[in-house]
């Protein structure tokens, strides 16, 4: 069931090539504007903060649309054919995969247009993976809530930013260590533990709470 839902998501994404292209152009555009504004004069903490701000805004914009299509007749079809827990797990898994690809694209263009300040690349990629999955998981549920509250254009950002803060603070902390090139022995593994725990916690909560959003 989950696999067929994932397949459906993927097919829909590639059938509408304008969205997937739009996302990449959005990322490149944001990075290019930032590069022009800073003119390459970034110290390490600013480099780190700017990267995660761009990732945060991209992910909120992109994930905001993940439930937009699931309204009206489509919602009724989903309601009759799928179980809510399968549906949210498929959504989260798909958004995680999407955000993973997207954050690596973001990093590539960020390093290309601005510069690559990361000294411990392995650690940075670990953080990038955990951050993307965490962002995707939280934003999937937030998108499901926002799609039910119509008529407020900013509702997605208003709902997501405060609940994303614990994740972002931890991510910036550990990513700073990667940028500074701290050896593996000195890495704050308790922070990586918190990131994994936040991922798991979000998935469990979505699993429990999403069925209540399911019927209209």
């Amino acid at each position: 069931m989950i696999f067929s839902l994932l397949k459906k998501e993927l097919l829909l994404e590639f059938r509408q090539k304008s969205t997937i292209g739009g996302v990449v152009v959005y990322v490149i555009g944001t990075i290019f504007v930032s590069a022009l504004c800073f003119k390459g004069k970034l110290d390490k903490p600013t480099w780190n903060a700017l990267f995660w701000v761009i990732t945060l805004f991209t992910s909120v914009t992109i994930s905001g649309k993940s439930f937009l299509k699931e309204t009206g007749g489509q919602a009724l079809f989903n309601f009759l054919h799928y179980s809510p827990t399968h549906f949210i797990v498929a959504k989260i898994l798909y958004n995680m995969a999407f955000m993973l690809v997207l954050s690596f694209i973001t990093f590539f263009f960020y390093a290309f247009f601005i510069k690559n300040e990361v000294e411990n690349l392995g650690l940075f990629f670990v953080v990038l993976v955990l951050a993307s999955t965490g962002l995707a998981a939280i934003l999937s549920l937030m998108s499901a809530i926002a799609s039910k509250a119509s008529g407020n254009f900013a509702i997605m950002s208003i709902l997501s930013f405060p609940v994303l803060m614990p994740l972002i603070i931890v991510v910036i902390r550990i990513s700073k260590q990667a940028v500074d090139g701290i050896e593996w022995a000195g890495v704050g593994f308790s922070f990586i533990g918190i990131l994994i725990a936040l991922n798991v916690l979000t998935i469990v909560l979505s699993f429990l709470l999403f069925p209540y959003l399911w019927r209209d």
């Binding site: 809530i145 039910k148 509250a149 208003i158 614990p166 909560l205």
Partner: protein, 219 residues
């Protein structure tokens, strides 16, 4: 006798307001007489956390029982808790000015946590205003409330223990309870906590009665 807790709340708060200014406190560097703020600042935050917990319990009841009264109660509790955050912030800010030398600092995870939780409850109120259908609003806002409450607790409870904080009891700063709060301070502090929590519950009951009457008139 259903008014007992209101009487206790009034007596306890009056007692702590007066005796908190009169009793003996330990002489400590930097803190000096501002240590008395522990009778006002900390209990107000405890009252806020209590009201937020009431709100999330009511939200869970909304989801399991699917009743509208629980939703109204969850909203009222969040409103009262939000109301407590204003004096909580003000007393904290004044205290910070006299001890840390600044009204607000981003160095402290507790302050950031408070800012985040205020944002969360503002988002919760805006979410409620943007859904018209009552049953739908009850379910959606309950889901957000439960999720946001867990995230807020992650922020407030866990993160400060991993990073340095200027607050007592964190990052090498002494905790009041362990070293400095002597028995004469405890005689004011604990009654203050109970008093403010009971006062919060009183406000919550009044709000509930108002929304109950409004519902009656509406029908």
């Amino acid at each position: 006798m259903k008014h007992w807790y209101k009487i206790i709340a009034v007596i306890l708060i009056l007692y702590t307001l007066v005796w908190g200014l009169l009793n003996d406190v330990p002489r400590l560097d930097i803190l000096n007489e501002t240590i008395r703020n522990v009778y006002y600042h900390v209990p107000i935050w405890f009252a806020m956390l209590f009201m937020m917990s009431v709100s999330v319990v009511q939200s869970i009841l909304t989801l399991t029982k699917n009743k509208l009264d629980n939703d109204a109660k969850a909203y009222n509790a969040a409103l009262v808790g939000f109301f407590f955050s204003i004096p909580g912030l003000t007393t904290g800010s004044i205290w910070a000015k006299y001890t840390w030398g600044t009204w607000w600092t981003f160095q402290d995870p507790k302050l950031n946590g408070v800012a985040i939780s205020i944002l969360i409850y503002l988002a919760y109120f805006i979410l409620r205003f943007s859904v018209d259908d009552e049953l739908k609003r009850a379910r959606i806002s309950a889901v957000y409330n439960v999720f946001a409450f867990v995230m807020m607790n992650v922020f407030i409870m866990i993160l400060p223990r991993l990073t340095d904080s200027l607050h007592p009891g964190n990052g090498g700063n002494p905790a009041f309870a362990k070293y400095d709060m002597d028995s004469s301070m405890r005689m004011v502090f604990y009654p203050a906590v109970i008093g403010w929590i009971l006062f919060g519950y009183w406000l919550f009951e009044i709000k509930n009665r108002i929304s109950f009457i409004k519902n009656k008139i509406h029908d």
